[in-house]
Amino acid sequence: MNDQGLSGAVPQGLNAAGIADDIRRERRNLRLLASPALVLVLVLIVGPMLWLFYLSFYNEHGQFTFEHYARMLDEGAYLSIFWTTFEVSLIVTVLCALFGYPLAYLLAQLPARWANVLMLGVLVPFWTALLVRTYAWLVLLQRRGLINDTLVSWGIIDQPIALVHNLTGTLIGMTHVMIPFLVLPLYATMKTIDGNLLRASGSLGASPTRAFWDVYFPLSAPGLYAGMILVFIFCLGFYVTPAVLGGGRVIMIAQRIENSVSLYPSWGAASALGVVLLLVTILLMAFGAWISKLARR
């Protein structure tokens, strides 16, 4: 499918040399077309990341040192940031999977007309500016916000409870932001599942529940894992929502990096944290690629 055009043919006959020339030219031109994007990414992302790696091994006097990494292992403050980041990311990923799976499942089964309408429920938050959603949650979850007021007036709680500027608010806000990232790849996978397999399992005597767990779920699992890994990776480096809805009580690694740079300019410490974040991200991507390879076999 990708080999159409001159570049796919093998030249033969009298003007083989001329055609081979054309093929070379065409290939070069095609490669040139990708180069602006490639140069931009290499110079402005890959380059600075290598620079970050380099900086993380130097102190403010320009001497080679492991102190930025050693500090991470020694100081409790760092360990608790790593732990918070991991904990928040894990909980949000699990919540997204629990809520996102039924949503994607129903969307995948509905007739296209309905699916397109309900899909807006996933796409609209996806398109909505992140700050708008974060602000909306701040308003909803505050002490005298809509949710507390409703719960009090229904008599479910006596006193307004603290829903924001803490872990709860952070988890709610982040789950809201991340669900589309789980649903979209999962939905794509579910759409490729052949409904006949389910009918076959039904005709062979499996109950709907059994057919779901033995046939449907394993077939949808690669999409679920892909979505979960994506969500987890995005959570690890997430800055805006925890910064606003966490109210300073939920410090994740991205905020710590921001603090290191803007509050007390320490590029070395920020770089070392950045390197750790980047390495974990790369490992997870590799893990995700490995899982999807296993699933394809």
Binding site: M1, N2, Q4, S7, R27, N29, L30, R31, L32, A34, A37, L38, L40, V41, I45, V46, G47, P48, M49, W51, L52, P102, L103, Y105, L106, Q109, P111, N116, L118, G121, L123, V124, P125, W127, T128, A129, L130, L131, V132, Y135, A136, V139, R144, L146, H176, I179, G195, L198, R199, G202, P208, G237, Y239, V240, I257, V261, G274, L277, L278, T281
Partner: protein, 264 residues
């Protein structure tokens, strides 16, 4: 795929999905009534309606200037990122060179590298080129962020297009550029437009890079808004949020509707 399970047995599923959709959609829409609330307190539902927060927005130069900066940056990003992304998608689709997988991976990096790291990395570079707080710097940064999105949407468009049509045009004497513009482009139009919209939205609502790379007279709307949301709660934010909501939702919403009409 139709299910053979009766609807009554899956009521719980419909209910759960209904609640989930409400959870996903309603909070963002809440900012609309809030923005017409007269009170300085964020009570809901509002007791008295007014346009005072919109007046505030329009009469405050910090808000208004930052809105136009964001608009300018977003339009420029769209203009720069779309051709770059389309060219890359075309190249990866039509070319059969080795390293294609690697190039594809490199071009999706801006989506995968945590944006906070991109921000400080770019800050390093821009500080040396004195490009911090410049429109150009922001446009380049957002072009980077937008490249994977344009690439992915346009690649998807190209997959449903038969490249031999372009070959036919070229064998009949059209130059490559003319063949692309008159034969290929019209058929992948929708995916190019949605890629362009992605670029616009990304540039318009990005927060973290704006914290580091925009400032002074070139502060973006999100930079001003983030400080405002985090530090003090000025109800003007509700008005700004409503404007931001419409600017970012309406174009893709219209596109979604048009695309589904076309498909039938």
């Amino acid at each position: 795929m139709e299910s053979h399970i009766p609807h009554s047995h899956r009521l719980w599923l419909y209910l759960l999905v209904g609640i989930l959709l409400a959870f996903l959609i309603l909070p963002s829409l809440l900012v609309v009534p809030m923005s017409f609330n007269h009170s300085t307190l964020m009570v809901f539902p509002p007791q008295k309606w007014s346009l005072r927060w919109y007046n505030n927005f329009l009469s405050n130069s910090t808000w208004l200037d930052s809105f136009f900066i964001s608009l300018k940056v977003a339009v420029l990003t769209m203009i720069v990122a779309t051709p770059i992304g389309v060219a890359a998608a075309y190249s990866l689709h039509a070319g059969s060179f080795r390293l294609r997988r690697l190039i594809e991976f490199i071009l999706t990096l801006p989506m995968l590298v945590p944006v906070i790291l991109m921000a400080i990395g770019l800050f390093f570079v821009y500080a040396r080129l004195s490009m911090v707080n410049s429109i150009l710097g922001l446009v380049i940064a957002y072009t980077l962020l937008a490249i994977p999105f344009v690439l992915i949407t346009v690649s998807a468009g190209l997959k449903t297009y038969d490249m031999s049509q372009e070959m036919v045009a070229r064998s009949l004497g059209a130059s490559w550029v003319v063949a692309f513009l008159t034969v290929t482009l019209p058929q992948i139009k929708l995916s190019v437009i949605s890629g362009a919209l992605f670029a616009f939205i990304i540039a318009f609502d990005e927060v973290v890079i704006a914290q580091f790379l925009s400032g002074g007279s070139n502060s973006t709307l999100t930079k001003v808004m983030f400080a405002s949301v985090r530090d003090e709660i000025d109800p003007t934010i509700a008005a700004v949020s409503t404007i931001l909501l419409f600017v970012t939702i309406l174009p893709p919403l219209l596109l979604h509707i048009v695309a589904n009409r076309k498909r039938g």
